[in-house]
């Protein structure tokens, strides 16, 4: 499996996208914090975090006695630079803007 494959696979799951969104709002969280926002066991949350870590989307660091989880946006940037930018950046951002606008007014 290539690096890109691992990123796409990791992103292809709503729970894992939810975890990334939580880290985007506030970075550097413990497993206990992240787990408390999910309706699943600690083991389940750990499994998802492991997939995110393997894909490089989450980086963990020890801080004192705690293990903190950080969102690492670089793999998404690499995919953006290699794929999305190359073909459709302008169109995609125009459509994304339109979607945001329509949803805000709806």
């Amino acid at each position: 499996m290539t690096d890109d494959d691992r990123v796409f696979k990791a992103l292809a799951d709503p729970t894992r996208r939810f975890l990334l969104d939580r880290l985007f709002v506030r970075d550097g969280r413990t497993l206990t914090e992240l787990e408390s926002e999910l309706e699943m066991t600690r083991f389940g949350a750990m499994k998802h975090l492991r997939v995110l870590e393997d894909a490089g989307l989450v980086v963990t660091r020890r801080q004192g006695r705690e293990k903190l989880h950080f969102l690492n946006p670089v793999p998404i940037r690499l995919i953006h630079d290699r794929w999305i930018d190359k073909y459709t950046e302008r169109q995609v951002s125009a459509l994304a803007d339109l979607k945001t606008e329509l949803e805000e007014t709806a």
Partner: protein, 170 residues
């Protein structure tokens, strides 16, 4: 700032795997002939010993838009080629960011399997919320560049292909 309820952790962590030697990555970070080839494209000047000065100059493109010569300044705290570089880092181009003072930047370079090296950038941005926004890439649509993820993505492309990511290429 009293609005710290949303973000209590002010550290940002970035990691990229690059098919290059730790020495090549170290040089790409510290050698001006390399630093001008990727990311924001300015020349960096490091006095690579504890207490040594760091100067991050602006690129020609930035200066043509009215930027001063010096973009970033700081001091080297630890320089252990090719494994670890710790430095302070202050954006001086923007008065508001300059006022928020020095932040701490750590570069960790770790050799892995198959000629792939792990580069981790840890930016401790305590007391510098505006800079934190800038380096996160959130100001990219204002022409401020894509922050660390953009710089590191470009660095990877440069070291692996010999040329930086270039939007005008296609």
């Amino acid at each position: 700032m009293t609005t710290m309820t949303e973000t209590s952790v002010t550290t940002q962590v970035y990691r990229v795997y690059i098919k290059a030697t730790p020495e090549a990555i170290w040089d790409a970070i510290t050698d001006p002939d390399w630093t001008e080839k990727y990311g924001y494209g300015g020349r960096a000047e490091f006095d690579l010993r504890p207490g040594g000065a760091y100067k991050g100059f602006t690129s020609e493109a930035m200066r043509s838009m009215g930027a001063p010569d010096l973009g970033v300044d700081g001091e080297v705290i630890e320089a252990d080629r090719p494994r670890k570089l710790v430095q302070t880092w202050r954006m001086v181009m923007d008065p508001e960011m300059a006022e928020q003072g020095f932040t701490r930047l750590t570069w960790e370079i770790e050799e892995g399997k198959g000629g792939v090296t792990k580069l981790t950038v840890i930016h401790d941005l305590e007391g510098a919320p505006k800079l934190a926004t800038l380096v996160s890439g959130a100001m990219e649509d204002q022409g401020a560049g894509g922050g660390w993820s953009w710089v590191l993505s470009d660095l990877k492309t440069l070291l692996e292909t010999g040329k930086p990511f270039d939007k005008t290429e296609f």
